[in-house]
């Protein structure tokens, strides 16, 4: 059963301080990277160094610290933009991916979506890529429609074509990788077809950016959103890459300091991109931390990160087949998946599964994974989910399999 572990493609666990942690004397088996990733030493150290040596408010300060802080933050933006194939001036820092999507819903949506129009999303979206569109449609009288998810966890381009052919679709929003199914969606095709049909596209790359090479420029969506904390970076920062023409024409979203050029009593004018969409004091330490995170990922090479995830997912799919009563949800092969595996274990509710494997320090998630509509589509109240980061290896999968066997014993199933 237990394998003579093949060497992993990446071997970087030692870079992540949290794995020095022992709980009840035993190491951590962290399989919840789809919820949030762990952080390498270099990211933690960058934040620490920022506060210890450089902390100052940015953009408007003349003194040395303020200049250093500004350069560190704007330098991080350059590297974050390059990491995802975006341009610096169209790479906007937000609070998280959720805020990035809301920014588009408010600042683009309210001007371009109205009664008789439709917003098209998919049944596999995260709540953060559903609720902003519900609010927008409720406010503007537009219709919210969904692309179906097949039993295998996939979208249909034919259905997309049919929806676009109706001629009312103003925006198509779709996850790059599903955080529940693991499905890697054909976003290049989706973006291309939507574009030909005159629809604006938003791709939610929250799961993709940390897992595979992304080239927003080549992919070509109008908006691409992702989130720092899932990409080895800090909490409190997300990214929105936008198409320049759209960003330039959009009204601002949040008003306040830094996003203005001039403020008069009754009227203001807006700052250049990207600052037009960054109101108030920036997430400076978070920007610096995210810069360190993309440096680290770039050092690993995203092709290797993707190969590593694929290899681990392949191994995990194989080993899960050994456990009686396991039903894996989503695409069948590791090629079609990101590093996420949702499953059910017969006779044990996912919430109990997660609690039981936690006794072996195996951290997995149970619940609706912020995707209640997908749960409804799949006909399950919840799933258990294991997901991977660059720091995982086969021994983590083995630990999960062992813990699942124990869980079955406790429940006598």
């Amino acid at each position: 059963m237990a394998t003579a572990a093949a060497p992993s493609i990446l071997d970087v666990r030692a870079d992540f301080p949290i794995f020095g942690r022992r709980i009840d004397g035993r190491p951590l088996v962290y399989l919840d990277s789809a919820a949030t990733s762990q952080k390498p030493e270099s990211v933690i150290a960058a934040i620490d160094d920022y506060y210890r040596r450089h902390n100052a408010n940015i953009h408007r300060g003349v003194y040395t610290l303020a200049q250093e802080a500004t350069e560190m933050f704007e330098g991080a933006r350059e590297r974050v933009a390059a990491f995802a194939g975006g341009q610096t001036e169209t790479t906007i820092f937000t609070r998280n991916a959720t805020e990035a999507i809301n920014l588009v819903a408010y600042a683009w949506g309210r001007e371009h979506v109205g009664p008789g129009d439709a917003v098209l999303i998919t049944q596999m979206e995260h709540h953060s890529n559903i609720v902003p569109w519900q609010l927008l449609c409720e406010e503007t009288g537009a219709e919210l429609r969904y692309l179906d998810v097949s039993d295998e966890g996939k979208l249909s381009l034919e259905q997309l074509d049919a929806e676009l052919a109706r001629g009312d679709v103003k925006l198509v929003a779709c996850a790059h990788i599903s955080n529940v199914l693991g499905t890697i969606n054909p976003v290049a095709e989706i973006v291309g077809r939507a574009r030909s049909a005159g629809a604006v596209t938003l791709i939610d790359g929250s799961q993709a950016a940390p897992q595979m090479p992304i080239d927003v420029g080549a992919l070509g969506p109008d908006f691409y959103a992702w989130t720092g904390h899932k990409a080895l970076g800090p909490t409190g920062i997300g990214v929105l890459h936008g198409r320049r023409e759209l960003l330039e024409r959009m009204r601002p979203f949040l008003g306040g300091g830094d996003m203005i050029r001039t403020v008069d009593f009754q009227r203001s004018t807006w700052n250049d991109l990207p600052w037009k969409f960054e109101a108030g004091t920036s997430m400076v330490a978070e920007g610096v931390g995210l810069g360190a995170a993309v440096d680290y990922l770039t050092g690993l090479q995203m092709e290797s990160v993707r190969a590593h995830e694929r290899e681990l997912v392949g191994y995990a799919l194989e080993r899960l087949r050994e456990v009686a009563g396991v039903r894996v949800i989503g695409p069948r092969t590791a090629e079609e998946r990101g590093g996420v595996i949702s499953f059910e274990l017969e006779g044990i509710h996912p919430h109990d599964v997660a609690d039981l494997v936690n006794r072996e320090n195996v951290c997995i998630r149970a619940g609706h994974h912020c995707a209640m509509p997908l749960m409804r589509r799949l006909g399950v109240p919840a799933t258990a989910r294991a997901s991977f980061g660059p720091y995982n290896d086969r021994s983590d999968v083995d630990a999960l399999i062992g813990a699942l066997a124990q869980a079955r014993q406790v429940f006598g199933v």
């Binding site: 996912p350 919430h351 109990d352 609690d355 039981l356």
Partner: protein, 129 residues
Amino acid sequence: MDDLYRDYILDHYKRPRNFGELEPHDLEAHDHNPLCGDELGVHIRVADGKIVELRFHGQGCAISQAAASIASEEYVGMPLDEVGGLDGEWLIELLGIPISATRRRCALLNLKVMRGATTGDASWPNGGG
């Protein structure tokens, strides 16, 4: 033996008491715990100000279902106006297992539903915050 999933918990989970629907009934409520997708409804028959019969129905984790089953045996026969006074501690003690903060709402869902049905107050019982 497992601390949390004791034999009687698993027994109540697998063979819940007072489970099903009750038609006709005098009171009812339905609620859920979005955290884990637990759902629970209750049908209650009342006579002389007392709960004379009751059925829970729904689906969820072992803790939520076993808790409903165990507590159901207490609710039957209880004066209606006592239900609103029950708090989270009462239920946790009744279960006799160590309930962590994350599982608290699983355990308390049945009490929330009962209070909803009898007092109309659909907030989480004390300690379910």
